[in-house]
């Protein structure tokens, strides 16, 4: 095995990922089964008799012991079946798929904004460490991490959508809207998510750059008489980018689920909005499915960024 370190590393990471995913499934199952209020009673409403309830319980397999229920559920999962939404009367996978586009587009735009602000500010902060600019940017980063997203969204909406009418107040455009038109609807929500998440990117870029700027090869580059901008941008930033890319990847993953609040503020028909309405209607299959899918996306992106890390930085040992 030692002859193929990359294969061994891949296999062990893959196994780790499978273990975590299995635990995620167990956690989601326990959580939803521990729910207060019987989902069947919710489904059937107040008029249902005890007989009705037991009949439907049998239909959904809820009369069986918990381990058996878990087995059935996992079997369904492995066939890509997340169950049916109680309220929407549709498969959960279909409901999630229909809502995936706005959320994914929002997350990508927000990460682009977060990186656009975070990386340059972080680099400047590191280069001018301890000086005014550094203190300003690190202060702003901390401020960004202290602002509630719903509040920032409401304020931006009042200023730029209601007041100046530069952007639409809410929604995602007509069903036949082009991608560009849709992106126009996402400018404000993506700004909210992007600006607030840039805080993390600033901190991370700064730390990563400070690490790299202390390295010998940076000193060598300076000793060779290279200009400071070449040293910072070509020699330091390129190497500092490796961990930054990892954080950006994880930020996309976290945003897909974390955009819940922003989507609600701006009335975007995304996954987050679906979850919030599912919670208000106690539509457990949707909550269960959304939790599983979002956690799976996080685990997979985590795995992929880890791989990318080893590919981009040859010093990382398998």
């Amino acid at each position: 095995m030692t002859r193929y370190p990359m294969t061994r590393y891949l296999l062990s990471r893959l196994m780790g990922m499978l273990v975590v995913m299995s635990l995620v499934a167990v956690l989601v199952f326990i959580l939803t089964r521990a729910a207060s209020g019987d989902p069947i009673a919710v489904l059937l409403g107040d008029q249902a008799t005890a007989e009705d309830i037991s009949r439907v319980q049998k239909l959904y397999g809820l009369d069986k012991p918990l381990p058996v229920q878990f087995g059935i559920w996992v079997n369904q999962l492995l066939h890509g079946n997340l169950g049916d939404s109680i309220f929407l009367q549709r498969p959960v996978t279909q409901a999630l798929w229909e809502r995936a586009e706005p959320t994914t587009l929002l997350a990508l735009m927000a990460v682009a904004i977060a990186a656009g602000i975070g990386v340059p500010c972080g680099v400047v902060s590191a280069v001018f460490r301890g000086r005014m600019l550094d203190q300003l940017f690190t202060g702003l980063a901390m401020l960004g991490a202290s602002v509630p997203s719903f509040w920032f969204g409401l304020v931006l909406m009042q200023l730029f959508a209601v007041g100046l009418a530069w952007f639409p107040v809410s929604g995602y455009g007509d069903p036949g809207a082009t991608l560009l038109e849709r992106m126009y609807f996402l400018v404000l929500p993506a700004t909210v998510l992007g600006v607030l998440n840039s805080a993390l990117i600033i901190r991370f870029t700064r730390a990563s750059m400070l690490d790299v700027l202390g390295e010998d090869y940076v000193r060598t580059a300076r000793a060779k008489g290279l200009s400071e901008s070449v040293v910072v941008l070509k020699h330091a930033l390129r190497n500092a980018l490796v961990p930054i890319v990892t954080v950006l990847g994880l930020t996309v993953a976290l945003m897909i689920g974390g955009a819940v609040v922003t989507e609600t503020v701006f009335g975007l028909p995304g996954v987050g909005n679906l979850v919030v309405s599912a919670v208000l209607r106690r539509d457990y299959p949707v909550i269960q499915g959304a939790l599983l899918v979002v956690a799976a996306i996080y685990v997979v992106i985590n795995f992929l960024t880890d791989l990318l890390y080893t590919v981009v930085d040859p010093r990382v040992k398998y």
Binding site: M142, V261, I287
Partner: protein, 279 residues
């Protein structure tokens, strides 16, 4: 009054001192809300609805004519209590799991994998799902936030325990026959206080933000309890007429969360000067 040397050192950074003062003001205003304002947070006065900030109502009134300062001051009691309980709960439970995972090699893998699994859910999504499952109430919000933040604490404490466990004084304690419990309690735990305190202040800040977000979404504390989050949620449709009704509760949240994070930073610099360089 003489401050201990460590506090003096921490407050030498003026911004940390300002943060501490701000936090103290927020806590005192909430504690002595009945002294700070003569208004009852639930008294409605329709004739004075949506009035601008003035001498009579320093921060203005909301859509039902309720005094905003009174609501923010009394609301702070709930927001701060929920966040403080969530931070305390997750620190206690997370430290316990982190210590056990870091010290007992056999338990490390199972605990760490559960922590990994729990941290695969975005904080807010997990909190929403938990409150949905438990039912909306103040105590359930606390419980949900404890569950959300416990893995975060456990991960940090585990990492620090792994380092401290290998230090010479632990080996020495073991060699002279000190019991495992005593090693953990008297020798390892005191050396973890720095990361634990830093985590506590950050989690307090995150919990303030998370509680507000949950209440805003309508899945947190019931809307009749005036927390900073429910205030923004209840008034948002009037924001275009009177921006201050969402502005001021938000500012209260920002001041509190920012002060807590700055304090956390100050504690980290004080207790662990090595970190100062990189972060």
């Amino acid at each position: 009054m003489k401050l201990p040397l460590s506090l003096k050192k921490m407050f030498r950074r003026r911004i940390v001192l300002v943060a501490a003062v701000c936090l103290l003001v927020v806590v005192l205003v909430s504690l002595f809300a009945h002294v700070v304002t003569a208004y009852d947070p639930n008294d409605t006065a329709v004739s004075e609805r949506l009035s601008r900030p003035s001498a009579a109502h320093i921060l203005g009134t909301d859509e039902l004519g309720r005094d905003l300062l009174a609501r923010i001051a009394f609301g702070g009691r709930y927001s701060l209590t929920i966040a403080a309980l969530a931070a305390t709960g997750s620190i206690v439970i997370g430290t316990l799991f982190g210590l056990v995972a870091g010290f007992f090699r056999r338990l490390d893998a199972p605990i760490s994998r559960v922590v990994d699994a729990m941290m695969s859910f975005p904080d807010i999504l997990l909190a929403i799902a938990l409150v949905a499952i438990l039912g909306p109430s103040m105590l359930n919000v606390v419980f949900a936030l404890v569950l959300v933040y416990t893995p975060r604490v456990a991960r940090v404490v585990r990492a620090s325990t792994l380092v401290v466990r290998e230090l010479l004084f632990v080996e020495a304690a073991r060699a002279v026959g000190v019991s495992t419990f005593r090693i953990l309690w008297r020798h390892i735990l005191p050396n973890l206080m720095s990361p634990i305190l830093v985590q506590a202040s950050f989690i307090f800040a995150y919990a303030i933000l998370a509680e507000a977000a949950l209440s805003f979404l309508g899945v947190g504390v019931p809307p009749d309890i005036p927390t900073w989050g429910t205030m923004v949620a209840g008034s948002q449709q009037y924001a275009h007429q009177a921006l201050w009704i969402v502005l001021f509760p938000g500012v209260a949240i920002i001041i509190t969360a920012l002060s807590l994070q700055l304090l956390g930073d100050g504690i980290r610099d004080l207790l662990d000067p090595r970190l100062k360089k990189s972060m």
